[in-house]
């Protein structure tokens, strides 16, 4: 199995988990909806299998439509979009577009193009998040950093009594605007620098570590978990590491052969 196939299987696996989670969530909220949500999830998972085994971008788009249907319903029931569930759809869209582009240009490495498409779409989500902070909040978003403190207060668990572990650190951020400012600036750097994730294998690996660190910090401080997005960042960054190791191995083998 090629590295590109493994990446495709990884994206499909994350999307499959998303299908199951979304369908279950909808069925819990409105039990009657299980009648259509579960079959739609089933169709989506079958489409993902076809995508992986036959490399058909059209199957990926069917899966994306199924994900969208579940996503729209869940967003309606939740009273708004839950962006932590967007990652698999974004990666799937990018992967399919990349595959379609690779096929249309008869690129011999169409899976590499598809992988780059998935990474590019995911990188765009970080960049968009960073840009929207600058456009909507301006430099004050980081300068005053009240939004970041408000976010921690809003979503983390609250209880009277002594704080421990990450809750204590979260409280330090809330009570210390200078610390919040530092974290806000780091957030902007990581998000606006996301295009670097697309610039070569070493940067894919190193910026992937930054993105993962960002998600882990958010999860520790607020409890907001972007598990799918983290899984995809790990997958695409590890793919780069594997590619680097393969190149190093090939160089070593060639050098040994030349001797």
């Amino acid at each position: 199995m090629k590295r590109g196939d493994l990446v495709a299987a990884g994206i499909a696996a994350v999307a499959s988990v998303d299908f199951v989670a979304r369908a279950r969530h909808i069925a819990e909220l409105v039990p009657e909806d299980a009648r259509w949500a579960l079959p739609v999830a089933g169709v989506g998972i079958v489409a993902l299998a076809i995508l992986v085994w036959q490399r058909r971008a059209s199957a990926g788009l069917v899966a994306l439509l199924a994900l969208s249907a579940l996503g729209w319903r869940a967003d309606f029931l939740d009273g708004g979009p839950r962006r932590e569930f967007y990652a698999s759809g974004v990666a799937l869209l990018g992967w399919c577009m990349g595959l379609g582009w690779g096929k249309s240009t008869r690129d011999p490495d169409e899976l590499e193009v598809a992988e780059l498409g998935a990474a590019a779409a995911l990188a765009a989500t970080y960049f968009s998040a960073g840009m929207s902070k600058l456009v909507v909040g301006g430099l004050e978003w980081a300068g005053e950093a009240r939004t970041l403190r408000a976010m921690i207060l809003t979503v983390r668990a609250v209880a009277d009594g002594p704080l421990t572990g990450w809750d204590r650190i979260g409280q330090m951020v809330i009570e210390n605007p200078a610390l919040a400012r530092l974290l806000a600036i780091a957030t902007l750097v990581v998000q606006l620098g996301a295009p670097l994730w697309l610039c070569g294998r070493w940067l894919r690996l190193s910026w992937g570590v930054m993105l993962l660190g960002f998600h882990m910090s958010v999860q520790a401080l607020t409890g907001i978990s972007y598990r799918e997005q983290m899984a995809l960042v790990v997958l695409l960054s590890l793919s780069s590491l594997v590619s680097l190791l393969q190149s190093a191995w090939a160089r070593r083998t060639n050098a040994a052969g030349a001797r």
Binding site: G71, L116, A120, A124, S128, R149, L153, G161
Partner: protein
């Protein structure tokens, strides 16, 4: 793909497109629904079950219950998640518990933010052991 996604997301606001601007808007306030027992201690609503309330739980998330809209910020999905817990963990014979909206005012100074609690419902509930 990078440019295409980022561009389309500024126009199309449908899955899977988004500018992920949920934490972009400047906020001077934050709020969180909590359970407050008779001694005044607060905990997450999820620390209790067996809920029975004297008002419709769905309405407890409405901003109007705590003053004019815009005087504090709410996170709709978070509120809905918590109130869904109350609805789906109904029961009887618990201790008196108020559901309060804790509202924090953030200022540009070190130290804990000022806060106030606004009661949005009188209930009874059973504390988890």
């Amino acid at each position: 793909m990078f440019v295409a996604y980022a561009s389309i997301a500024t126009v199309v606001r449908a899955y899977p497109f988004s500018t992920f601007d949920m934490y972009a808007h400047p906020e001077d306030t934050a709020s969180h629904l909590l359970a407050r027992d008779a001694s005044g201690h607060v905990q997450e609503l999820t620390q209790f079950d067996g809920w029975s309330c004297d008002a419709t739980v769905e309405n407890m998330g409405a901003p109007a219950t705590c003053g004019p809209l815009g005087s504090f910020s709410i996170t709709t999905y978070k509120d809905q998640d918590l109130l869904r817990w109350v609805r789906t963990h109904a029961g009887e014979n618990g201790e008196p518990v108020d559901i309060v909206r804790r509202i924090w005012q953030l200022e540009e100074r070190p130290g804990p933010p000022t806060m106030r609690d606004c009661v949005v419902g009188h209930c009874r509930a059973t504390r988890h052991p």
